[in-house]
């Protein structure tokens, strides 16, 4: 013991440590980030598509809304489970604080769930023959719900990036384009999902149109991804070795953009489209997981050298 003490160097205060504490947000939150973008992106894309081009995208959008509801419920479950005290989830709705992104997001998700549930309920009732499928009044109600859902769906999407960028955590606090990247990638994910739905339900004209849009969005997504990376570069360089950073960039660009782009351009069958969707999902989950890990990795690197 004495020998150990004699060789121990004395630490220079706290100057080598991160000041902030890291919130215990881990894998579940990475999935939450993905599912949030999947449901909001799908709904927004389907709704905008149905309103702008009802003949082409209306039928596919109808098939997409139940998927969006399922993704929303999955996301909400993850949000609840991630809390320190899940039984107190409803405390989120005690107050409405638009100045708090998490409060704005919770209320947006709650309000977004209402028109989405109504849309799916009307579609289900029509499919089961409980209500006439050609009812003009019901269609008017359904379309009103689609329009009414746009703003809260967008709020549910927009809060997520701002929630992280308005924190004091290493890396997150520098990510000015995180919200912009998430908005763009959510719509890209929504397009890829809608494309998969259109292929699986046999809507060939919609699938053909959506393939072109998905390819364009994959390329467009490189712009906010690049902006986000530039903001994080300094923190990433401090935490990781250069080779690790370069490898992550190459893998995300090749796996999340180039491979799905090639798959989309090469084939229009179910395997090609689903393959592209899988790569897009994997790439997006990887980027979200890496981003989420930054403060944790920063603390680890401060205490024990580069990761």
């Amino acid at each position: 013991m004495q020998g150990h003490d004699q060789t121990r160097a004395i630490q220079p205060g706290y100057s080598t440590q991160d000041v902030t504490k890291v919130p215990g947000w881990h894998g579940l939150v990475a999935w939450d980030l993905l599912f949030n973008n999947l449901t909001t992106g799908l709904f927004l894309f389907a709704a905008v598509g149905e309103l702008a081009s009802p003949a082409l995208l209306g039928p596919v959008a109808r098939a997409a809304y139940p998927v969006a509801l399922f993704l929303l419920l999955t996301d909400l479950m993850m949000l609840v489970l991630d809390l320190g005290d899940p039984l107190r989830f409803h405390h989120m709705l005690r107050v409405f604080k638009p100045s708090s992104p998490m409060s704005l997001g919770t209320w947006s998700l709650t309000i977004y769930s209402l028109p989405l549930t109504l849309i799916v309920a009307i579609e289900a009732a029509q499919a089961l023959g409980l209500v006439p499928s050609g009812s003009i009044a019901l269609e008017w109600v359904r379309m009103s719900a689609v329009v009414f859902g746009l703003l809260p769906a967008f709020g549910s999407l927009a809060y997520k990036g701002v929630l992280f960028s308005t924190s004091s955590q290493p890396g997150w606090k520098d990510a000015r384009w995180l919200g912009g990247w998430m908005a763009n990638s959510a719509l890209m994910l929504g397009c890829a999902e809608l494309l998969a739905v259109s292929v699986l339900t046999g809507h060939a004209p919609a699938a053909a149109a959506l393939r072109t849009v998905a390819a364009m969005l994959l390329l467009l997504n490189l712009i906010p991804t690049g902006l986000l990376f530039l903001e994080l570069r300094e923190t990433l360089s401090r935490i990781y070795r250069d080779q690790q950073v370069h490898l992550a960039v190459v893998l995300s660009v090749v796996g999340g953009t180039l491979i799905p782009l090639i798959l989309l351009l090469v084939g229009d069958g179910v395997p090609w489209i689903l393959g592209a969707l899988l790569f897009i999902l994997a790439g997006n989950l990887a980027i979200r997981s890496l981003f989420l890990k930054i403060p944790h990795a920063s603390h680890e690197s401060r205490s024990g050298g580069k990761a």
Partner: protein
Amino acid sequence: MKFIEQFAANGRPSGHNATDPTATSRELTLDRLLNGGGAGRWLMMSDVCKHCVAAPCQHACPTGAIVYNEFANVYIQRDICNGCSYCIAACPFGVITRSDFDGHSHKCTLCYDRQKDGLIPACAKACPTASIQFGPIDELRERARKRVKELHTHGVTGAYLYGDEPTETYTELHSFYLLVDSPATYGLPEAPFNPWLHMLGDYGRTIASALATIVAILAVLFFQGG
């Protein structure tokens, strides 16, 4: 309480204006220290919540669990907190912790229960050297400024106050400090930044990005004759 051992390899403690404040003690072993290895010092700092005038944690809290109480202290209502941890992410001072026991966020309350009974916080009461002082904030600031002048006249030229006045990026703190080294040495941010100053811009970029993407989508759809 934060406890900082600070012994420079050259035998002198690193001052606030030292060019390399971290060049302390790395090469100094306890053996060398105990055998007259050089002069040094131990720094201590009360590691309480700073009770910021505009607290990012209170701003962040989505449940309304974090409030300002009647003493203008930032207080977590334990019966309301649901452990979302957003306050932990927001606090630039690393004050708040989520308990593994009950899943809720916890931090210094500045002994709210004692204050309600007309008593001073336990840390200030117990401190044997009266280093931790408690009282009306204006009186404390005046006392602290006098103390800094006193220290300067005694040769401690690196003494200064941290958090007693607002900066461009942060409000003043209701728990402020008299320091003799860089804030980082004490585990404090060099220049605290309120993350909410970025909020409008971040929302703006999000909205702009979404609108630009939607315009691009519609343009491609209509170009294809959709």
